[in-house]
């Protein structure tokens, strides 16, 4: 009888661990979640755009380093204070440079990066088109 009640207790503790603990963790890791859903959405979008300065191949959204947590807190704070996304990006790039943005901005030095592949693709398409049309013309002439 005693063992049975002990078992119940064990199950209870386990259930509590499974269901309550993660919620507690969420409450702690989510520093200052914004109540306004639209603002929080904007914050989340920015988190995915901003590079973690410690672990450079991750976004601030994916990283749990202290600096990433602080950056998320700061971004939320700035959004709540009414700053625009562009102002926040500008604030960060004026400190950390363009490297802080995961996607390089479109500017003189990155035109080749952004548009090079598209241009090459279009040239390829044009050449295929002309090739095919001359081939078709040749066949027509033969027929």
């Amino acid at each position: 009888m005693i063992t049975k009640s002990k078992n119940y207790l064990l199950v209870l503790v386990l259930l509590a661990t499974i269901f309550v603990l993660p919620n507690l963790c969420l409450a702690f890791s989510y520093q200052a979640p914004l109540e306004d859903n639209d603002l929080e959405q904007r914050a989340q979008k920015l988190f995915r755009e901003i590079r973690c300065v410690v672990c450079v191949s991750q976004s601030v959204n994916d990283s749990e380093t202290e600096l990433a947590v602080d950056l998320r807190t700061l971004i939320r704070k700035k959004i709540a204070a009414g700053e625009s996304d562009e102002e926040i990006r500008k604030f960060l790039t004026s400190r950390y440079g363009n490297q802080i943005l995961l996607a390089p901005p479109i500017e003189n030095s990155t035109y080749v990066l952004w548009f090079g592949p598209i241009i090459i693709f279009v040239i390829g398409l044009l050449i295929i088109y002309f090739k095919l049309s001359t081939n078709l013309n040749l066949r027509k002439k033969k027929n």
């Binding site: 300065v53 410690v54 602080d70 400190r95 490297q99 390829g124 050449i127």
Partner: protein, 181 residues
């Protein structure tokens, strides 16, 4: 002539790939040589961002960005949990003992009692020590870790930024020439 045209896409593609490879290699070399992706702090050459931090000591005046103007000084970001900070500490102490330059400390994400204990154990090389427990000012300074050091001139313009422990060699090579100008 027609055959040559066939090679145009391949040629352009090759040039593109080679160009990208060179650029990527430059980027990689930058990372490895400087050991940091964010080596170039964009604030160098600009005035110090506004900040106002509390002191680590209760009841003492904190550190304001205006305090730092008036003479060449260093701002050193450190913490008691930071291992590399211990390496540069003796050098910072020698700067104070020989009265070479004023050094302000910002203890980053460190409990004030821990900072105070660390400074009493290892010596206090700082003119003033402020705390940035929230880590907000440190982000506005473009910091990526500890220790990092800024050289600020008498007008409050950031002249130099160093990532990692400061040493006599770096100080003499990089910082002294900037002060003597």
């Amino acid at each position: 002539m027609n055959k040559l045209i066939n090679f145009i896409p391949v040629t352009i593609f090759t040039i593109f790939i080679v160009y990208m490879a060179i650029k990527l290699d430059e980027d990689k070399r930058n990372i490895f040589e400087n050991k940091n992706y964010f080596e170039q702090n964009k604030l160098v050459g600009q005035s110090l961002p506004k900040f106002n931090l509390p002191s680590i000591h209760k009841g003492y005046l904190g550190l304001n960005y205006n305090d730092i103007k008036g003479r060449y000084s260093l701002i050193n970001i450190f913490a008691s949990w930071c291992v590399a900070c211990k390496i540069e500490h003796p050098f910072l102490m020698s700067l104070k003992e020989n009265k070479i330059i004023t050094v302000y400390g910002i203890a980053w994400k460190d409990k004030p009692e821990n900072t105070i204990k660390w400074l009493s154990d290892n010596g206090d090389p700082y003119n003033k020590v402020a705390q940035d427990y929230e880590g907000e000012t440190v982000i506005s300074l473009g910091i990526t870790g500890a220790p990092e050091t800024f050289l600020v001139d008498e007008m409050g313009i950031i002249k130099y930024h160093h990532i990692g422990p400061l040493s006599e060699k770096i100080f003499n090579q990089k910082i002294v020439p900037l002060i003597q100008k």
